[in-house]
Amino acid sequence: MTAAGGGVASVIDARRDAGSGALIGYLPVGFPDLDTSVDAAVALVENGVDALELGVPYSDPVMDGPVIQAATQRALAGGFRVRDVLTAVERIRSRVAAPVLVMTYWNPILQFGAETFARGLRDAGGSGLITPDITPDADTEWIALSDAYGLERVFLAAPSSTDERLRLTVAASRGFVYTVSTMGITGARADLDAAARRLVGRLRDAGAERACVGIGISTAEQVREVLGYADGAIVGSLLVSALADGGVARVAAVARALAEGTRSGRPTPAH
């Protein structure tokens, strides 16, 4: 993993240099509709979220928990199209400076045309992709395309990953490595898994410059705890629930509360 010139990497580095870490917020495009999803993403940034992760609704989301599944199914029922993602990125980037990553299962990109999507994403001002259902060794054109278009590529690491696979993942990732904090799928959990801390330690040993922890974070206290050992805290299900329950105003309030976790002094790193 090398330092990237811009994108999420530089934001994470800046937050780390300031003695904290990055808060990364996830929302799916097209939920509850395209305009609202754009407004909600902008509201996240205006309320303390440092980087955005925009989800691409997909018919077979094997790595998503019930909250995100319900939202993305609603987006699909509402007529979501993959090209809407590029529209959303462009609109968000015209309003706020925060970097935007797109989180997507692979088949929608493959059918759109991976190169067409990569070019479109770059032109829209997107930073890159998070790809939950492919690994660096899965035989896709994504590694070459992301290099060609200067896009970040975030792969996932899991507690079950072998040391050899962690090295592979770290070497292939650009931006950060996405650390799955429990063995489970996405969904808010009362307590963060100690496995996340161990996994981040293993990733550092494997040479990771930036490791962000996702899946399971629901309070400012947990954000603070994660930023004590990781470079970024990723929040998804909680924000999607807030948007579903109370619209843009509610998601803004939840983001503001979570961002408290990035402010106070960073505890001594555990590693």
Partner: protein
């Protein structure tokens, strides 16, 4: 046709198809399984244990049955059925689950999960779990739990937990999604018994290897009966495990034509079909690159078939490869054609086939008329129709009014 040796292709790729497109959370488990299988497949002890189970538990070898009264409707061709319907649990699915259950024991896991469409793989998995003393959870689309209520009861009787899946189209593809989600959270103790020759490597090659006994037996049996190889081998294709199981032994026999019969549903161009090879495009679903029913955006389309076991929008990658190089031909039989064939075999031969297998029979009727008198057609009768009697009763209006009001 190519003269490449096609038999026993090891994966992960079959031509451009196959691979291992999986979340990192599951890669360690899949790699562990692949490594364990690589050792087991060349281990005489493993193979002997599996062979003994097939002899004393499955009821192998399964017989072949020539069906002349049925064949009269097929242009005078000779039709020979490979009787996987006579296996314990009523279909070819047992061949695969016994192999995977043995493997589960070898890697030291105590629980299995499985997806099921028609319920045959779920029943087979629950059976193997009972036999080996493993915990078992089966994921089944809610639509299918209703279509195949009897199989739900069978699985529960065997001690398995059955989880109705209410997401997406509530059929087989969603049951697979849910099984993957469950596996991510329980991978330390749990093995996934995948039911068909699809999904990520090593499943397509491994499931084929566990099913290839069908074709190996049938190839010898047909030669003993007729003095030669068949002109054609026909099997139904959903994910494609029974088809690849019977095709495998014949792949390098240039004179034997191979036909996979997909579920045409209400017709290939009705929009309500499960014919992935004929109406799909290449994409990635459930861990492999293969033909797939999908919209322009790569969203998986809902498939349709009267047969729950063929109601799947994808297909195993080796079939996609065989189709792309022309070694096997893939056709479709509609719901109506399959049900007509089901009734015809029942009435002419006293054998009630599974609706899945009835698609192969429907294909054989057409093929017999094409190949002409004296041609020999081997059909894989992959399962028996006991589970489908309620569906057939409604389709043919065979139930008394009192019975239909229940």
């Amino acid at each position: 046709m190519t003269d490449t040796v096609l038999r026993g292709a090891p994966g992960p790729f079959f031509g451009e198809f196959g691979g291992r497109f999986m979340p990192e959370s599951l890669v360690a488990a899949i790699d562990e399984l692949a490594a364990a299988y690589e050792v087991a497949k060349d281990d005489p002890e493993f193979q002997a244990e599996l062979a003994a189970l097939h002899r004393t538990y499955t009821g192998r070898p399964s017989i072949i049955t020539e069906v002349p009264r049925f064949a009269r409707h097929a242009g005078g061709a000779r039709i020979i059925l490979k009787r996987e319907d006579l296996n314990h649990t009523g279909s070819h699915k047992i061949n695969n689950v016994l192999g995977q259950a043995l493997l589960t024991r070898r890697i030291g896991k105590t629980r299995v999960i499985a997806e099921t469409g028609a319920g045959q793989h779920g029943v087979a998995s629950a059976t193997a779990a009972a036999l080996f003393g493993l915990e078992c959870t089966v994921f089944m689309g809610e639509v299918d739990t209703q279509r195949q209520a009897l199989n739900v009861a069978r699985m529960r009787l065997l001690g398995a937990e059955v989880v109705p899946v209410t997401t997406g189209s509530r059929t087989l593809k969603d049951a697979i999604n849910e099984a993957y989600r469950e596996w991510v959270t329980s991978v330390a103790t749990t093995n996934y018994l995948f039911g068909t020759a699809a999904g990520p490597h090593p499943f397509p090659a491994m499931v084929r290897d566990f099913q290839k006994i069908i074709g190996e037996e049938a190839r010898e049996q047909v030669q003993a009966l007729t003095g030669g190889l068949p002109d054609a081998v026909v099997a139904c294709v959903g994910g494609g495990s029974n088809a690849i199981g019977i095709f495998s032994a014949f792949l390098d026999d240039a004179g034997v034509a191979l036909y996979g019969i997909e579920a045409g549903g209400e017709g290939l161009d009705s929009g309500r079909t499960a014919a992935s090879i004929e109406r799909g495009r290449v994409g990635v679903l459930h861990g492999a690159r293969s033909y797939l029913l999908q919209d322009e955006d790569g969203q998986t389309l809902e498939s349709h078939s009267i047969s729950a076991g063929l109601d799947y929008p994808g297909v195993g990658p080796e079939h996609s490869h065989l189709a792309s190089i022309g070694r096997a031909e893939y056709r479709a039989a509609t719901d109506t054609e399959a049900m007509d064939a089901l009734r015809l075999l029942s009435r002419t031969e006293g054998i009630i086939p599974a609706i899945e297998s009835a698609h192969a029979l429907a294909g054989a009727l057409v093929l017999g008329r094409e190949l002409g008198p004296g041609s020999v057609i081997l059909v894989n009768l992959s399962g028996r129709g006991d589970k489908d009697v309620a569906t057939a009763g409604r389709w043919f209006d065979l139930l008394d009014e009192a019975a239909t009001q229940e």
